[in-house]
């Protein structure tokens, strides 16, 4: 018995670099050999899908991209799926960014979805306004007078020369907002300075760590729903039945979560053995 206990104690005080190695292996293997576990959409994701599905054809939707390469695995699949859904339902898409890196993320999504997959014409179906610095002040600018903030789009073309921008003066001219966000400025600023003061419905896709902070807004009805981290992105891919990088990432995340749960159990077993022994002596 004490031999088993000693092994657990040794496991309990293992050098953390072994844990790093195990985590690396556990993430890489499922990425190379996909398992293909079933994805079951939850209500919070379905609410986002239903509210976009209910929009009348040709609605004007503002898609705001505020994340960077560091959280791309979680946020980018959401942006891709939402863009596919909006173009499939023939909506007009306006893209802004509250983070500088968001411009590159949005450009990648446009190249992949708008150009290659749907072949939509720029300036008629979608327009890419780009990034402006100023955090919450930028959201306030968009709500009050967008044309003073964006006189040119991201390609330095004048807004007045873009047909789609005709009649767009401020946030109230949009029918829906989707924010793909990873922190500050992001979802919370869009709720506080845009959606709440104007009543325009909004949804958001956030990283797993931020879900806890925005859930009270969803429950209070200030947001119609939220895509929660990579699981939320994979669920949305299942809803529009077009698999993407989130679905393939879910196998790795599943196995990694199970291994971390195993670590927690092992850690506690050695903790109990240690505590019992110290009580004895």
């Amino acid at each position: 018995m004490s031999k088993i206990q000693n092994t657990f104690l040794k496991i309990g005080s293992i050098d953390r670099r072994w844990i790093f190695l195990i985590i690396a292996a556990v993430v890489i293997v499922p990425l190379l050999i996909p398992v293909g576990l079933p994805i079951r959409p939850t209500d919070t994701t379905k609410n986002v899908y239903d509210s976009i599905e209910k929009l009348p054809v040709g609605s004007k939707v503002l898609l705001s991209v505020e994340y960077s390469p560091s959280t791309r695995p979680e946020n980018h699949p959401m942006t891709i799926s939402i863009l596919r859904h909006l173009f499939k339902n023939d909506h007009k898409v306006f893209i802004t960014c509250l983070w500088p890196d968001g411009q590159f993320m949005a450009q990648d999504a446009i190249n992949q979805v708008a150009k290659q997959e749907f072949n939509k014409t720029y300036g008629i179906v979608y327009v890419f306004l780009g990034f402006r610095p100023g955090n919450e002040a930028v959201v306030k600018d968009i709500v009050s007078n967008l044309r003073k903030l964006y006189t040119v789009d991201v390609y330095q073309k004048k807004i007045d020369e873009i047909p789609l921008m005709k009649g767009i003066n401020n946030f109230k001219d949009f029918d829906f907002l989707f924010s793909s966000s990873a922190g500050f400025p992001g979802t919370i600023e869009w709720v506080q300075y845009a959606s709440d003061p104007t009543g325009i419905p909004m949804a958001s896709g956030v990283t797993s760590i931020k879900v806890n902070e925005v859930m009270p807004y969803v429950q209070a009805g200030q947001m119609v729903g939220v895509l929660a981290g990579m699981p939320g992105a994979a669920e949305y891919e299942a809803l529009i039945n077009q698999k993407g990088s989130a679905t393939s990432g879910m196998d790795a995340q599943s196995v990694a979560h199970l291994v971390i749960v195993l670590f927690i159990i092992l850690g506690n077993v050695s903790f109990f053995i240690e505590r019992n022994r110290s009580k004895k002596y």
């Binding site: 670099r17 790093f20 939850t42 209500d43 500088p100 411009q103 780009g130 990034f131 402006r132 610095p133 100023g134 919450e136 002040a137 306030k140 903030l149 006189t151 040119v152 330095q156 004048k158 807004i159 007045d160 919370i188 600023e189 709720v191 506080q192 300075y193 709440d196 003061p197 009270p216 807004y217 429950q219 209070a220 009805g221 200030q222």
Partner: protein
């Protein structure tokens, strides 16, 4: 495949492995990659913030192309800056603005902020910081009160007697779940109460 892409791939691989090597031990490869990241990100942020706000929305309002005429003193000064033709192109800046000389005020405050790099003039940053702190306070006082206080009170309020709500439902609204939120919310609020001893 283009040379720049191959070179880029090698640079990306070196930097990625350099940063991952920190997991084993702090080492020169990690320090090199990390300091390179510091330098590149500082320059990256400077360029992006300049080209998306200062050039189009500040200089674009001081020397707009729509009101350009070479004989005026103001535009003569502009042509002197024309040495940096990428920033001050020929014939004024055509970003869709008309002239607003009042924007010299934020321009001056911005220059004062940059001058505050020298420790003797470090007080100069205070005007610009004061403006941003003042406006942030005015925005946040309303935004947090409306969305984070009143909005949440509305979220926790519900109808006690509601025939079309089940008593218990794991997912979806129900009387039980409404009470869980109400009691959790009120007991949560009383944890952050400092006027009386915690029993």
């Amino acid at each position: 495949m283009e040379f720049s892409t191959i070179l880029g791939a090698w640079v990306a691989v070196f930097l990625t492995i350099g940063i991952f090597s920190y997991l084993y031990k702090d080492n020169p490869f990690y320090k090199t990659a990390e300091h390179l990241f510091v330098g590149v990100s500082a320059g990256y942020w400077t360029a992006i913030f300049f080209w998306t706000q200062i050039q189009p929305n500040l200089f674009g309002r001081l020397w707009p192309a729509t009101e350009y005429y070479a004989s005026s003193l103001w535009y003569k000064l502009y042509n002197v800056f024309g040495v940096f033709s990428s920033v001050f192109p020929e014939g004024g800046i055509a970003k869709g603005h008309d002239m607003h000389l009042i924007y010299l005020v934020p321009f001056a405050m911005g220059i004062m902020m940059l001058l505050s790099v020298s420790s003797k003039l470090s007080w100069m940053a205070r005007w610009g910081i004061a403006y941003t702190v003042g406006m942030a306070a005015g925005l946040r006082a309303y935004g947090f009160l409306n969305s984070n206080v009143l909005g949440q009170i509305k979220g926790s309020a519900f109808q006690l007697v509601n025939s079309n709500l089940p008593f218990f439902a794991l997912v979806g609204d129900s009387i039980f779940n409404n009470f869980v939120i109400l009691i959790g919310h009120i007991t949560g609020l009383s944890v952050f109460y400092f006027y009386r001893e915690h029993t």
